[in-house]
Symmetry: C2
Subunit: 649 residues, 2 copies
């Protein structure tokens, strides 16, 4: 709270000065032996085209992707270019047998997770279970060639599946018109891939930054609750279930259809849920035992299938997956839906699921890259994920991205390169070719248990508590998107999340902080009075710190707020001391940018104040001439010293 | 360009130091006699409820409206409260005869302007001309009692009329269903008043700040061109005119219907247009002759009506207004449309015209208040304008606000108080009661000429050029909204204007400046290297200035950009000198706020850099503990001095 100094200077503090200030040259030297008045430098003259170019390059090429090509031979440039496009060319040449062994183990581990997950998530999107398996075969292969993350485990994810399912099923019933529904899902996947690729190509990756972490935490938690509620259908064996996703109709339908509850399903479901949750907890508590949580889903599928098969005559109540087609992904180019009344729906669904899956995929990629200290290129990841979805939509896959659970398992299992994705694909290939008949007796209830276990990890209670502690507004945003998803709809929740995020930025820009500053005795430092107890007001001066760049969105507010500070200060002085306010100094250190409205506001302020010397640091503009060099100082200390000298009688 | 110092210090500059730094205590004292290391003060502990309360009060009560009620007796509080609600109570008691004389002259002058304007703008909104006169009678009376501006001239304005007309006529034809159209216009006015009042009551006035001046300049200019093009119908005497507002269909319809051009109309129209434009120019060039431009519209109406009346047999080609009903505003409470298929349209139109007219009214009010050095209370103006529109919608008035042309004339004519609005109302009342039959022969072509003359002032070429000179991005935003209005539609143009404005804020927040800073030799000042030629790098240190608060929207960018600066610096050092980079100092002076994502980003950055001592100034959070006091300094100079001492061998 206190700005203590390690060594104390003996010269009197500037705040001891009384007004009107009378400083003789010698006094002045005594007060501040090192006080010099520096001329404020204007920015170097650069053409506005160059400025514009710099601005654009910061927006679109802030990562300087062409840096590596500088000063290279033509051949080398081609090689680097290919390596840039296909990161596999970077690591494949130096790939060793040791890498292969690690990747083999990791790949097989995520395969054991991804087969039951694929089937489950496809059901979440109201798609045939086999689509989920197809989606774990083609996209990982493409990502291996194009992606820049070494640990990303690619496949269907719960949030995107849920959103796609809930958006499409609002218009087209997946049970009444399964073919149309499938076509729309594939088309939405195509558009989401196209959108993702375009974002990457046009280097617009930064738009996913507008989804703040705080609102995402709320959205994810809300979606997890919604998904878990949906699983009550499978878990309780209910046949007639609510068509809506909101929590109220779902719960009321659960209790209205009590007669449909099947005790066999319930017993089986809850025992496997218990088993899966225990395995998950074990994996969380002891990271070395991650394989328990990784293997649990497949174990559950195998065990439940076996038990249903053995007791197949007496457990007819338990609904089962049924026959799955054997064979590789069939082509679905001719199934894409480019004409017709539902095209708009497909595009909209594609955009929303596209941006959601990008957000998840890139966040996951970045998280694990930080752990191993390498960088993931956001724009290139978008192209990789986008192309893999476009290719997927032509080969019976629905939307995929980097999945948190798979990536965590992949990382813990010791994956070294994206090769583990190829291993996983091969394992899925074997399953598609030979193991499909085995899933015939797999009960749906175990899939519901797998989904619940997976999405429970999305409820990040600790992160929400942390938000509450650090930033109440962030927490409020989090709550808004949580309850939006829960009580309105997934899309509304998402809209609220984006709206609140953007509104928060706007609010912070619209209402910047302004602080009265004072001198810390014995120094040339000027700090916020409310922040530093030792800081003291300088008589006759009002020093205001402006806390943000001045834009059109805050220029009016700042202008009025500064005038209010001035009148408050005048009232305070009137009641207490005999001095008068003679000069207002604006500390513009934090004003790193100013637009035309900001300049107008400063000009009007100067006109209104009709007072002396505002200290400014700003770019070229005629406003500089108005304030003239005498009104511009490099530091608050220099401004006070110079003005005090001018006030000598 | 250069930071010259007025007095030159003799001690060696810190940038002369070589690395590894060896500073003995005495050396250190010699180098910087006043260097002290200050402990960074944490913000005073205030409860998060208080913080939240402060934040909310800054958002909603930044003008401190309750300030005047402090320390007053109960009776005085009541009086002040009434005066706050009805500003007329503030100035009426001290109203003098001299004031009345000034206001009488000003009121009659704006009446002479507002009668022809009212008729013309009503036609712009496809409403019966008399509605425009009604709208100049009731709303000014209400504004006089409630408004806080002394010079605002209230009445219909061109932009809001145009937008209302183009939005409503897209769905409902004003010629085929005139009654329904009128009802929708009144209902839209009601909702716009309701919306404006709510904005004021809930103190959300700041949302109009999101429409940047730059985009408004473009929007206004585009709208002015569109309105002028629409007047070609009247000016050329065309009967079958394009139903759309975009420039291409309008121009093509003008040339397709060449047979309908009427030379009598054209001759009359262009002569009056010439007369009006000359009068306008005279008023602009010599502000003392403002009354010429103010009286010109009424003169034109009188002259044209007279000439049509005299030559009425031979000028049958020229279309005329026709009979106008005599009498006061009829009540239209029962005409408001609260049920039915077009309710949504009415609400939407109300919202958009409401926000547009607020923007115009408040900007005009503020501009003229600044000239006379008084303040206009934004939120109270919203309530006044909102209530006057709600009352207007019940008494045959369509949307009104503070009009730029009327206010300018009012101000120049020497108005002292809002009483001039009452004078204008009375003059309009006389016109409504006794002069209506005189308008029967008024030709429509002269109204078209009046509209063109009025809207031409909205094309602010100089402001656009100024934008081009100062800020290319602002100019681009201006062009976008200009061409959006011209080639798409008024609403699209407005959407683009808002979108570009918001996107500009987001972009500025997303891509803040980062600069390498250096020491100005002989001082403790650290400034941007590219800005100050004299500033020199400090060996072994990389000093980066962060140019904005750190939010979720820029935390990823900043993290990656800082890493890029570091690697670029390392490359530069490698190629040139033998020293190594040992410490990165972040100058957080401009980082006036940081959210949870920002803190996470700094933590990750610290983890990635795995280097020493980042200088930070930020609010309470656990990140502070991680950096510990040794990593936080009050100034860059102190950080360098302290770290250099620690490096002593």
């Amino acid at each position: 709270m206190v700005a203590d100094s390690k060594t104390v200077e003996s010269s009197p503090a500037i705040s001891d000065l009384t007004s009107p200030v009378t400083i003789l040259p010698s006094d002045h030297a005594l007060l501040h032996p090192t006080i010099e008045i520096h001329r404020v430098g204007l920015p170097l003259k650069i053409s506005s085209f160059q400025k514009f170019k710099y601005k654009l390059s910061e927006i679109f090429f802030s990562d300087d992707p062409f840096h590596r090509f500088k000063n290279q031979s033509v051949l080398r440039k081609w090689i680097l270019g290919f390596q840039y496009m296909f990161p596999i060319l970077q690591w494949l040449p130096s790939y060793t047998l040791q890498h292969l062994r690690s990747d083999l183990i990791a790949g097989l581990t995520i395969a054991s997770l991804s087969i039951p997950q694929g089937i489950s998530y496809a059901k979440l999107a109201y798609l045939p279970p086999v689509i989920g398996l197809y989606s774990s075969f083609v996209p990982p292969l493409i990502y291996t060639a194009l992606g820049s993350s070494r640990h990303l485990g690619v496949g269907p994810v719960s949030i995107a599946s849920l959103v796609m399912g809930s958006m499409l099923s609002e218009t087209v019933s997946p049970t009444d018109e399964p073919l149309l529904y499938l076509r729309l899902a594939l088309t939405a996947t195509f558009f989401s891939g196209l959108f993702q690729t375009c974002l990457g190509l046009f280097r617009l990756g930064f738009i996913i930054d507008y989804l703040s972490k705080a609102t995402l935490i709320g959205f994810m938690a809300g979606a997890a609750v919604i998904v878990s509620m949906q699983q009550l259908k499978g878990l309780l064996g209910i046949v007639h279930f609510a068509g809506k996703t909101q929590i109220i109709p779902v719960l009321s339908s659960v209790f209205h259809e009590r007669r449909e509850w099947s005790w066999q399903t319930i017993v089986m479901g809850f025992s496997f849920l218990l088993f899966l949750l225990t395995a998950r907890l074990t994996g969380l508590k002891k990271p070395k035992l991650f394989w328990i949580s990784a293997a649990a889903p497949l174990t559950s599928v195998v065990l439940s299938t076996l038990s249903v098969f053995i007791f197949r005559t007496s457990v007819s109540e338990i609904s089962q997956i049924g026959t799955l087609p054997r064979g590789l992904n069939p082509s679905t180019i001719n199934k894409l839906y480019f004409h017709g009344p539902h095209l708009g729906l497909a595009i909209k669904t594609g955009l929303i699921t596209g941006i959601l899956s990008l957000t998840e995929g890139i966040a996951v990629g970045r998280t694990f890259a930080t752990l191993q200290n390498y960088q993931v290129d956001g724009n290139k990841e978008m192209i990789a994920i986008g192309l893999m979805n476009m290719a997927g939509s032509c080969s019976s896959c629905y939307i995929t991205t980097g999945s948190f659970s798979r990536t965590a398992v992949n990382y813990n299992a010791g994956a070294k390169t994206a090769m583990s994705n190829i291993v996983m694909s091969s394992a899925v290939l074997v399953a598609l070719l030979y193991l499909m008949p085995l899933f015939c007796y797999t009960p749906n209830v175990v899939l519901a248990a797998i989904i619940i276990t997976a999405v429970i990890g999305l409820i990040d209670y600790n992160a929400a508590m942390r938000l509450y502690k650090i930033d109440k507004l962030d927490f409020l945003a989090c709550l808004c998107s949580f309850f939006g998803v829960l009580f309105l709809s997934v899309q509304m929740g998402l809209t609220i999340a984006v709206g609140v995020s953007v509104f928060k930025i706007l609010l912070q820009v619209t209402r910047p902080n302004t602080n009265i500053m004072g001198n810390i005795p014995g120094t040339q430092l000027y700090q916020c009075l409310s922040h530093y107890e030792k800081a003291q007001r300088v008589p006759s001066f009002l020093i205001l710190g402006i806390g943000s760049p001045i834009y059109f969105a805050n220029s009016t507010y700042l202008q009025e707020r500064i005038l209010r500070w001035v009148s408050e200060e005048e009232e305070r002085i009137e009641s207490k001391t005999a001095t008068t306010l003679r000069c207002i100094i604006l500390d513009m250190t934090a004003v790193t940018a100013i637009d035309t409205s900001g300049i107008d506001a400063l000009r009007e302020l100067k006109y209104t104040l009709n007072k002396r010397s505002l200290q400014l640091k700003l770019g070229k503009s005629e406003v500089l001439e108005e304030f003239s060099t005498s009104g511009l100082y490099l530091t608050v200390g220099e401004a006070i010293a110079d003005i005090s000298i001018a006030w000598k009688p």
